[in-house]
């Protein structure tokens, strides 16, 4: 009789041990707290931007006219589309559509790299014209324009770095899905990577009108 009870308890313990211990809500909350800190990181720079723009409205307008609005708008569309494929990729994993999820994830990464290529081309053209931080051509200009381009390189540069990190993270997620470590029952790391990707998209949503569309 004792052994019978013992067997039953053993079974219960086995059941408890076999069920993986994890806290999905906690993991998501942690990601959201990280996002909060990221918003404040970029927020500090946005405040710096608005302070300098408030002091130098005309110089900011002139400097902004030199940026390529067509490329900026095109990049906005590229990044918004990558957010769509990212969200759809998470949804596909949640439904167990592994192949679709992988294709969408690769599309997201490709769009991210495409964004960086366009950004690099934009930077390259500006640098060719002698406009880069501390360049003699730039320093000869009005104070407000120097500030504008300083902020432009700093903010789009930090944003580009976030895209690059995002692509690396998504690459890791792709490997996880391929190895079936991420699937219908376990997808929170992929979901959190998606949150990060969308955050980077939101930051660009603000950078775009503030740098390319000053009137």
């Amino acid at each position: 009789m004792i052994s019978g009870r013992l067997m039953k308890e053993m079974d219960e313990v086995k059941e408890l041990v076999s069920e993986e211990v994890r806290d999905d809500t906690g993991a998501r909350l942690g990601m959201w707290l990280f996002i909060l800190s990221e918003i404040l990181l970029f927020g500090g720079m946005f405040i710096l931007y608005s302070g300098y723009r408030y002091k130098n409205p005309v110089d900011f307008h002139h400097a902004s006219r030199e940026l390529d609005v067509i490329l900026g708008t095109f990049n906005t569309i590229v990044l918004l589309t990558s957010s769509l494929s990212m969200a759809a990729s998470v949804a596909a994993t949640q439904r167990g559509q592994r192949r679709l999820s992988m294709v969408l994830l690769m599309a997201t990464m490709a769009l991210g790299l495409f964004f960086l290529a366009i950004k690099g081309f934009e930077w390259g053209t500006k640098i060719e014209h002698g406009i880069y931080p501390n360049s003699p051509t730039l320093l000869a200009r009005a104070k407000g324009e120097v500030l504008f381009f300083g902020l432009y390189y700093m903010m789009t540069g930090l944003h580009g770095l976030h895209i690059l990190v995002g692509v690396c993270i998504l690459c890791g997620m792709l490997i996880f899905i391929a190895k079936n470590k991420m699937n219908r029952m376990r997808f929170v790391p992929l979901e959190n990577s998606g949150l990060y990707w969308h955050l980077v998209d939101i930051i660009w949503i603000f950078l775009y009108p503030l740098f390319y569309l000053i009137t």
């Binding site: 999905d24 809500t25 998501r28 909350l29 959201w32 707290l33 996002i35 909060l36 918003i39 404040l40 927020g43 500090g44 405040i47 608005s50 302070g51 408030y54 002091k55 609005v69 708008t73 906005t76 569309i77 918004l80 589309t81 957010s83 769509l84 990212m86 969200a87 759809a88 949804a91 949640q94 439904r95 219908r184 029952m185 998606g194 949150l195 969308h198 955050l199 998209d201 939101i202 949503i205 603000f206 775009y208 009108p209 503030l210 569309l213 000053i214 009137t215």
Partner: protein, 100 residues
């Protein structure tokens, strides 16, 4: 699968609609920059950017279907902190001119 996760599943169609709205709003931002509205231009641009962010947060980032209150307060909290920073900075900038 837990029921909570079942609810958080969104439809592809919803995502596609949100994406289309985001593209249309980008077009509006672009054309609004051409209107001669003076100081209103930047406010319109920021309002549209805010709307776009709201769509991304609620649909792509599923904030809309999060059930716990703690997720709902994160964005208002960060906006409140940000507003305090802005007010402090601009109260400094606005009154700096008087001192020589």
């Amino acid at each position: 699968m837990k029921p909570e996760e079942e609810i958080r599943k969104a439809r592809y169609k919803t995502y596609a609609l949100v994406w289309m709205t985001l593209i249309i709003l980008t077009g509006i931002t672009l054309s609004a920059a051409g209107w001669e509205l003076g100081g209103w231009t930047v406010l319109i641009a920021l309002a549209i950017a805010g709307t776009k962010s709201g769509l991304v947060l609620n649909y792509f980032m599923h904030l809309r279907s999060e059930r716990l209150t703690v997720f709902k307060v994160i964005i208002p909290l960060v906006l409140a902190v940000f507003l305090v920073f802005i007010l402090l900075t601009f109260s400094d900038l606005a009154f700096r001119g008087g001192v020589r």
